[in-house]
């Protein structure tokens, strides 16, 4: 039963981190290059615009869910399983989600990079 709890927590961490990353990315794409915006309208207006953006707020909420799921996951399972499994699965899930929801062009190069990094993270924790 503990096994089921651990993998449920890993699933929730991956889902929430991926949602958080996609929402933050969507917010920043809609706001635009912050370097240029800062030169045009000043740092405070850029920070205010980011903090008020609905996708940013939802993204932070999703990241918070991911953080607490990680805490629960770590209380049920081994850190050597929960941390690397969730981190590496998030790389692959983010590539799928970015292609579907953000319409990013995920070519062979980016798929290969996501899979290499995900495998590397798994090996680092081994």
């Amino acid at each position: 039963m503990k096994h089921v709890y651990t993998w449920s927590a890993i699933g929730l961490i991956v889902l929430a981190s991926t949602a958080g990353d996609v929402l933050l990315s969507r917010a920043m794409k809609q706001i635009g290059d912050v370097g240029e915006l800062r030169r045009r309208s000043g740092l405070l207006r850029v920070v205010g615009g980011v903090l008020r953006h609905p996708s940013f707020l939802l993204g932070v909420l999703a990241m918070t869910v991911a953080f607490y799921s990680l805490l629960f996951g770590l209380s049920w399972g081994d850190v050597s399983l929960v941390a690397p499994a969730s981190a590496s699965l998030t790389f692959v899930a983010s590539a799928v989600a970015a292609q579907v929801f953000l319409h990013e062009r995920v070519d062979h190069r980016r798929w290969l990079a996501a899979v290499l990094v995900a495998s590397g993270v798994l090996l680092l924790a081994g």
Partner: protein
């Protein structure tokens, strides 16, 4: 990609690795927090290492959001994963921990992944379908005429 943008990606990597390390170091000094004494976790921010770790993680968030404003998520995530390599190198050369062959292989795979993704374009260019009608050239405006 300009030098400034590579600096932002380096910021994402370094702030995340340093922030996590300081947070872990500080929490080891604070000790384990039990479920029955959860408010203790709020007092943990009074530990200077935890406070510095949080400050660096705020720096990570700022540079991560900046990178996402001009690059794709599928570019930023692998490109900034060198932090894992940085943590392993800190463990080997500063903390003198043993790094196994498997971990060196992991470092090699992550470095290859980062190398692959940074050779390609940082941003997907979508066709300008969102341009309002009045901004389109005359060809587009004649399309509606009979």
């Amino acid at each position: 990609m300009t030098f400034r943008k590579y600096l932002v990606l380096a910021g994402v990597t370094i702030f995340a690795a340093a922030g996590d390390s300081l947070l872990a170091y500080g929490m080891r000094q604070v000790g384990s927090v039990s479920w029955h004494h959860l408010p203790e976790i709020i007092l943990a921010v009074l530990n200077p290492w935890v406070a510095l770790g949080i400050l660096l993680l705020l720096g990570f968030l700022a540079s991560y959001m900046t990178a996402l404003s001009w690059a794709d998520l599928t570019y930023v995530l692998p490109a900034s994963s060198l932090g894992y390599v940085l943590l392993a190198l800190i463990a080997r050369f500063w903390l003198h921990e043993h790094v196994s062959i498997t971990r060196w292989l992991g470092i090699l795979l992550i470095s290859c992944g980062v190398g692959f993704v940074t050779q390609g374009p940082a941003l997907t260019h979508h066709p300008p379908s969102a341009v309002p009608e009045e901004c389109l050239p005359a060809v587009a405006s004649t399309r509606a005429e009979p």
